[in-house]
């Protein structure tokens, strides 16, 4: 009798774990974060969301450190860890709903489609690009796509990915069939950025490419003098790039002509964030800058106590970012003034995302922190 109960519960457990069954709610944008940067253009921006002060309402303990980017669908956050697990945590219920185990315990980076298809790119292995159906709880296809150092980007019915060893691909989200491949001269590490027509990405040798997103044909490319490890950010007319030579650049989107550039004192490790007229850029010396996007003119500058571990996230009039000193900070986006901070257990390396009035951020000490708009000022 006990044995039967045990196995029934076990089957139920796996069944429950495997299928998350999200559904698209009416306010998808507020309840979802489908890929790196929150949108295809990687703006790291939400018009509405939690404003400081925030209070910590929950933490999620993981089996290993979380990867750099979280995704979410219908208030369920999907967290990939560096030992090959994907956790699904429901914000409203405050519970881990299930776990997916990736092959060979290899770290996977995630891209999400509103239909509930989760694209997973593996950093090593053989079948390195796979698609998991959250409704069915199955992997629907797996392909050999090369080693992926960054997130696959899901747009419409396609998955776009940049492989470490010199190619950029587009795959069908439905079938996993490759639609096109573009070969590059050198390695690439950062996730591609998409617009309605183009795909932008940078390489380790400092090449910035604009491809036709549908055909894979090259539109233009520029050679910078140093590696590009951060994803470009795309606006209506401009493409912004923060490079390893401590220079922040803007190019015209149509033809790649240089628009402006400014010199910082340290490397551009993180993708900038963009909101209205302000481009927010963090560099390796802990300096975070608000820059006028059309001209590159400095609006404000804030010095964090240590290196900045995440891309900034702009939520309304607030910039959130995580720092290597274990703190997450909030600044005023128009002035750079410090509004709030909170200390976590480890260096903050997982880019913060905003879902509704929640702020979610991860630290390398294997925790995800869920903050919510609170009532008390807690600046330290």
């Amino acid at each position: 009798m006990h044995k039967k109960l045990f196995f029934s519960l076990l089957i139920l457990f796996f069944f429950a774990c495997g299928a998350f069954r999200p559904h698209l709610s009416e306010n998808a944008e507020q309840t979802s974060w489908l890929g790196v940067g929150g949108n295809l253009q990687q703006h790291h921006f939400r018009a509405n969301g939690p404003a400081p002060p925030l209070e910590l309402i929950d933490t999620i303990s993981l089996s290993a450190a979380p990867v750099e980017n979280l995704v979410a669908l219908d208030s369920t956050i999907f967290i990939a860890t560096k030992n090959g697990r994907i956790y699904g945590y429901h914000l409203r219920d405050g519970k881990v709903k299930g776990k997916i185990k990736l092959p060979e315990n290899v770290v996977g980076n995630l891209g999400l489609h509103a239909s509930g298809r989760l694209a997973v790119g593996l950093e090593i292995g053989s079948e390195t690009l796979m698609c998991y159906d959250l409704h069915d709880g199955n992997f629907v296809w797996k392909v050999r796509a090369g080693l992926l150092a960054s997130e696959p980007v899901v747009a419409d019915t396609s998955v776009y990915m940049v492989a470490r060893f010199k190619h950029v691909d587009r795959y069908s989200l439905q079938t996993g069939k490759r639609i096109w491949r573009f070969e590059t001269e050198s390695q690439a590490h950062a996730a591609p950025t998409l617009s309605d027509r183009e795909l932008f990405f940078g390489t380790d040798s400092g090449e910035l490419y604009a491809l036709d997103r549908h055909t894979g044909a090259k539109i233009w490319h520029r050679e910078l003098s140093s590696p590009i490890f951060a994803s470009p950010v795309v606006d209506d007319n401009l493409v912004f790039v923060s490079a390893q030579d401590s220079t922040i650049r803007a190019f015209t989107r149509a033809d790649g002509k240089p628009a402006w550039q400014i010199k910082a004192q340290a490397r551009g490790w993180r993708t900038p964030a963009l909101a209205a007229n302000v481009l927010v850029v963090a560099t390796g010396d802990g300096i975070i800058r608000g820059i006028e996007k059309q001209t590159g003119k400095k609006i404000w500058r804030h010095e964090a106590p240590s290196g900045i571990g995440t891309s900034p996230l702009i939520v309304g009039g607030v910039v959130y970012f995580g720092c290597l000193d274990k703190n997450v900070y909030a600044l005023d986006v128009s002035s750079g003034k410090l509004l709030w901070q909170a200390e976590l257990r480890g260096r903050v390396r997982t880019n913060p995302i905003a879902i509704g009035d929640f702020l979610i951020v991860g630290s390398e000490d294997k925790y995800i922190y869920i903050f919510r708009q609170g009532h008390e000022l807690s600046v330290r």
Binding site: E123, F165, D204, G284, S306, L324, R347
Partner: protein, 970 residues
């Protein structure tokens, strides 16, 4: 027979200066007392002593600047305060207790993992100080980042990056790529000893590996991108094999990388041979073995000699050889033997010059009892005429005689870490300071007329980047003017006999070569010597002035590797040190005037305006700095547990912990284990020991309490249960780095219950021992090769409760090593020990086995008296062999051979027989710390010796015996 953990504790009862396996070893002597303080900055806790406060603040500024740069470079930070421990000079650094190991003169600093401490000595050069701080901080960041990467991916069992990478990256990101690194790699490539990356295990831990690692990192940065170096650390989690990590990061594994790298080196280095040469092909070779450097010419009573420093036999010595007509090694004389006595503990082989005057007196520097001393020695008689040490000066370099022969100018580094020029007048016994600042002033040399001192210094504006230029100081006024100027290294100037020219070493065009500069005749007048052969004297250059109007600058050598320490000799030759084939050797170039005449004149350095010397860096953010006296705080160093299973003794398990303070001066050890085989025996078989060790003063002390209990076995007593509990105290006082006196006091309750062969023991025993130990041995691959060591000990054990035990113990162990060749030596050992008095028969000495009487079963011979005489011829057998597998390889260092002859025995009342063994042995050193031994031979015995000894009493056992074990040669 002792249990392993008990043996460990027995080792603990002796101080850490004792060497494992035997009780010898050199001493780390705390000559100086340091009043430690802590300078707390934003990211560092800097430990320093007040005399060097200014230097510590400069070091703090360097460290903070490096920290900010590395946070950006590594995309990583260190969230705790990094402990930096500074010493103002290398001799103080050698006294540190952060590491128990003896520190060699060539060690520039280290990072240790237990407490994450970085220990850094200054040496008088601020640029070197800056470089070492940067180098070690790269280690700190790399270690933290690698740790983090593996932990994040839950791959903590994966290997850290290999040593060639960690050291290579630390050097490449700490200093970049300079003339010195270029010199080593050029030499390795062209001389053909460069080791491919795929075979790096062959040179594991060597200086060549470090330089190759630096070169590999440079190639990766240039070929694949600087960012790839960091990605190699980021990707450590991907594979347990670093070759595979390289493949996943760069797209090439070790073998594929080698193809690219080696080809690149050939393409880059071989063309240099078009217009440059290896030194040995175009100059006269004077020496060939070891490292031979710092030549000086001496002419006295018609005898011309070349005197130099060399470690050709392992020990560093000062040698002399005939200047002309040298016929090989037979004509080399040892003038001063180093590294054997406390008068000449070490010569600074690669940094300090020596000099001889016309009176046949040699001035040189040797480390002696905690400080450097200048010696004045009569070459003819080898008599030490004078020995100088100065209160305020710790390290000394490059003494140089005045033309009159009554003064020496030298570089001295004081307690505060400042390097300055000093002049000592022998007749007046007066010391004068010539410079007084933080610039590093080196290699002073007196002009033939005695009015000027030329020297090398980093005081020019580019000195903060490590460049050195030549300067002239007018002795009378102290005025200093430029002789050369530029962002390169000009070193070791030497005057021509007529005073018209200066020869020096410079890397101004990328490699260290010999250059000359002359003041044109129409510009100046010269004096040749104090005897006034020509009656004019050089005017110092007006300051500021354009140097190119005053000098004729020429490059005399075009070596592909490097030339140093040029010395102008009266016959118009230059003797110098050349680097070639991974060695420094003496070379000579004759007819230097002709070479100067034919050499192309190069544009002299240009100096316009008055360049400002660079300023010392300052700490910013004063609000984040605090300064306080050092307070001891203890933290855990080691915690480990162990479970043993023995078929006879059953299971035992326990744990040990070690704590120490930040400076390593006070240490606590805790040992707990249990050998019970049933629940009821737990309390009875509890073993615990607590020991405190103090290393902060010259006299090292230890004391502790213990309780040991368990069932033991040895061949003499069979099985027995023994409980011993009590306390001990010991003190070790080093007389020098070679000799020490030790006293041990032990009081214990001893209860032994025998199960058969021997009697019970029950007493309250007090033991006192006094020992004198010496060790100046020189080690080869498997054990000592030269020198001697001994330990003499006397003690008393008394039962103060009963009256059954009261005996004296005497022990003498003497070993001497006679060097017969570079790798051949003859070793002899005499060991005897005896217990005399009441109860002594219950306390025995044991012998037998690979460590004493070979070919006999281990510890199967016992008695209250023992003697052993061992003779051994040690020689090379196989120098090196490597086993290469498809997936990698293993490298074995030398297999050495031995022919041995041992005689000895142990007895209680009467020695009736002498046991012996003779045979052949092979020793293989494995992994740098383990020596595997194999002996094969015949046993023999001399029986009934109380009837007298006759050769026909020697009876050989017909059987051949062989033994395999581990351990160093005696």
């Amino acid at each position: 027979m002792k249990r392993p953990l008990l043996a460990f504790l027995i080792f603990l009862l002796y101080l850490p200066t004792a060497q494992a396996q035997y009780y010898f070893g050199r001493n780390k002597v705390n000559y100086d007392h340091f009043d430690w303080h802590v300078l707390r900055t934003e990211h560092f806790d800097i430990y320093y002593y007040p005399e060097m406060q200014e230097l510590a603040e400069i070091g703090a500024a360097y460290a903070e600047e490096a920290y900010d740069r590395l946070v950006d470079k590594f995309d990583h930070n260190i969230n705790n305060s990094i402990p930096l421990i500074f010493y103002s000079n290398h001799l103080h650094f050698q006294q540190t207790n952060v590491t128990p190991n003896l520190i060699q003169p060539g060690v520039g600093g280290f990072f240790e993992f237990l407490k994450g401490r970085v220990v850094i000595p200054a040496n008088g050069s601020l640029y070197d100080f800056y470089h070492v701080i940067n180098h070690e901080l790269v280690h700190v960041f790399m270690h933290s980042k690698a740790n983090r990467t593996l932990k994040d991916h839950r791959k903590s069992n994966y290997a850290f990056p290999p040593l060639w990478f960690t050291e290579g990256l630390a050097e490449y990101w700490g200093e970049g790529w300079g003339s010195e690194a270029e010199m080593f790699i050029r030499d390795a490539t062209i001389a053909g000893y460069l080791v491919p990356l795929s075979q790096m295990y062959r040179i594991y831990g060597t200086f060549l590996m470090y330089k190759e690692g630096q070169a590999i990192c440079r190639f990766i940065a240039e070929k694949f991108g600087e960012e790839k170096l960091l990605q190699l650390i980021d990707n450590l989690w991907m594979s347990d094999s670093f070759s595979e990590v390289m493949r996943l990061t760069l797209g090439v594994n070790y073998k594929q990388f080698d193809e690219m790298w080696l080809y690149h080196l050939m393409k880059e280095k071989y063309p240099i041979l078009d217009e440059n040469d290896m030194p040995g092909m175009v100059s006269e070779r004077l020496t060939r073995k070891g490292i031979s450097t710092k030549p000086t010419f001496c002419q006295h009573n018609g005898d011309e000699k070349l005197v130099f420093v060399s470690n050709r036999v392992g020990y560093s010595n000062i040698y002399s050889m005939p200047y002309n007509g040298y016929n090989g090694e037979r004509e080399l004389d040892i003038v001063v033997k180093g590294e054997r006595t406390s008068e000449f503990e070490a010569f600074n082989l690669l940094q300090s010059k020596i000099d001889a005057n016309d009176a046949g007196e040699l001035a040189f520097v040797a480390k002696s009892k905690g400080k450097d001393a200048i010696y004045r020695l009569k070459l003819e008689t080898r008599e030490v005429l004078e020995r100088l040490q100065f209160d305020e000066i710790v390290t000394i370099f490059s003494p140089n005689w005045s033309p009159q022969g009554d003064e020496v100018v030298f570089t001295g580094v004081n307690f505060a870490g400042k390097s300055d020029l000093y002049i000592y007048n022998f007749p007046k016994e007066r010391l004068k300071k010539l410079t007084n600042d933080f610039y590093d002033d080196r290699d002073p040399t007196w002009s033939p007329n005695g009015r000027f001192v030329a020297f090398s210094s980093d005081r020019s504006p580019t000195g903060k980047h490590g460049s050195y230029n030549l300067f002239l100081c007018k002795v009378e006024t102290g005025e200093i003017v430029y002789l050369t100027f530029g962002d390169h290294k000009d070193l070791t100037p030497s005057w021509s006999p007529d005073g018209r020219s200066i020869v020096f070493t410079s890397d101004r065009d990328g490699a260290f070569n010999i250059w000359t500069m002359s003041l044109p005749a129409e510009k100046s007048q010269y004096v040749a010597s104090i005897s006034g052969v020509s009656s004019v004297e050089p005017e110092p250059l007006a300051y500021p002035t354009a140097l190119d109007q005053a000098t004729s600058l020429k490059k005399v050598t075009h070596f592909i590797t490097g030339a140093f320490d040029p010395e102008w000799t009266p016959d118009g030759s230059i003797v110098f040190t050349a680097f070639e084939n991974f060695s420094f050797q003496l070379r000579r170039l004759k007819n230097i005037e002709n070479k100067m005449y034919t050499a192309q004149k190069v544009s002299a350095d240009s100096l316009v305006g008055a360049p400002e010397p660079w300023r010392m860096p300052k700490l910013v953010g004063a609000s984040q700095i605090s300064n306080f006296r050092y307070r001891k705080k203890f933290s855990l160093d080691i915690a480990q547990s162990q479970i043993n299973q023995d078929p006879i003794f059953g299971t035992s398990g326990g744990a040990q912990f070690a704590f120490s303070d930040m400076l390593g001066n006070e240490q606590y050890y805790f040992l707990v284990y249990n050998t019970a085989s049933s629940q009821s025996e737990i309390l009875e078989n509890f073993n615990v020991a607590v020991t405190k060790v103090n290393l902060g003063k010259r006299a090292n002390t230890a004391y502790g309490l213990y309780h040991f209990a368990g069932t033991y076995y040895n061949f003499a007593d069979g099985f027995f249960f023994e409980r011993r509990y009590g306390g001990f105290a010991s003190i070790s006082y080093p007389l020098s780095i070679f000799r020490r006196v030790e006293a041990n006091f032990n009081v214990r309750k001893s209860e032994r219950e025998a199960f058969g062969l021997s009697g019970d023991i029950n007493g309250l025993l007090v033991s006192n021992f006094l020992s004198l130990t010496k060790d100046n041995s020189l080690w080869g691959a498997s054990g000592p090769m030269d020198g001697e060591r001994y330990s003499f000990s006397i003690g008393n054990t008394l039962d103060i409760k009963g009256a059954k035990t009261n005996f004296i113990t005497l022990s003498a162990d003497y070993r001497k090593y006679f060097r017969l060749g570079q790798q051949v030596s003859y070793a002899t050992r005499f060991w005897t020990a005896m217990n005399r008095g009441k109860g002594s028969e219950l306390y025995r000495f044991y012998m037998g086995g690979s460590w004493d009487l070979r070919l006999y079963p281990r510890w199967r011979i016992w008695g209250k008296n023992v003697f052993l005489i061992s003779q051994e011829l040690r020689f090379p057998f196989i120098d090196r062999f490597n086993v290469a597998f498809p997936f990698g390889g293993i490298g074995f260092s030398a297999i050495r051979g031995a022919l041995f002859f041992d005689i000895g025995n142990a007895w209680d009342n009467r020695l009736t027989d002498i046991l012996g063994a003779t045979g052949f042995g092979a020793r293989l050193r494995f992994g740098g710390f383990l020596v595997l031994r194999y002996d094969v031979g015949r046993r023999f015995a001399v029986q009934n010796i109380d009837d007298g000894f006759r050769f026909n009493q020697i009876k050989f056992d017909p059987e051949w015996y062989h033994r395999f074990f581990f351990g160093w040669d005696f």
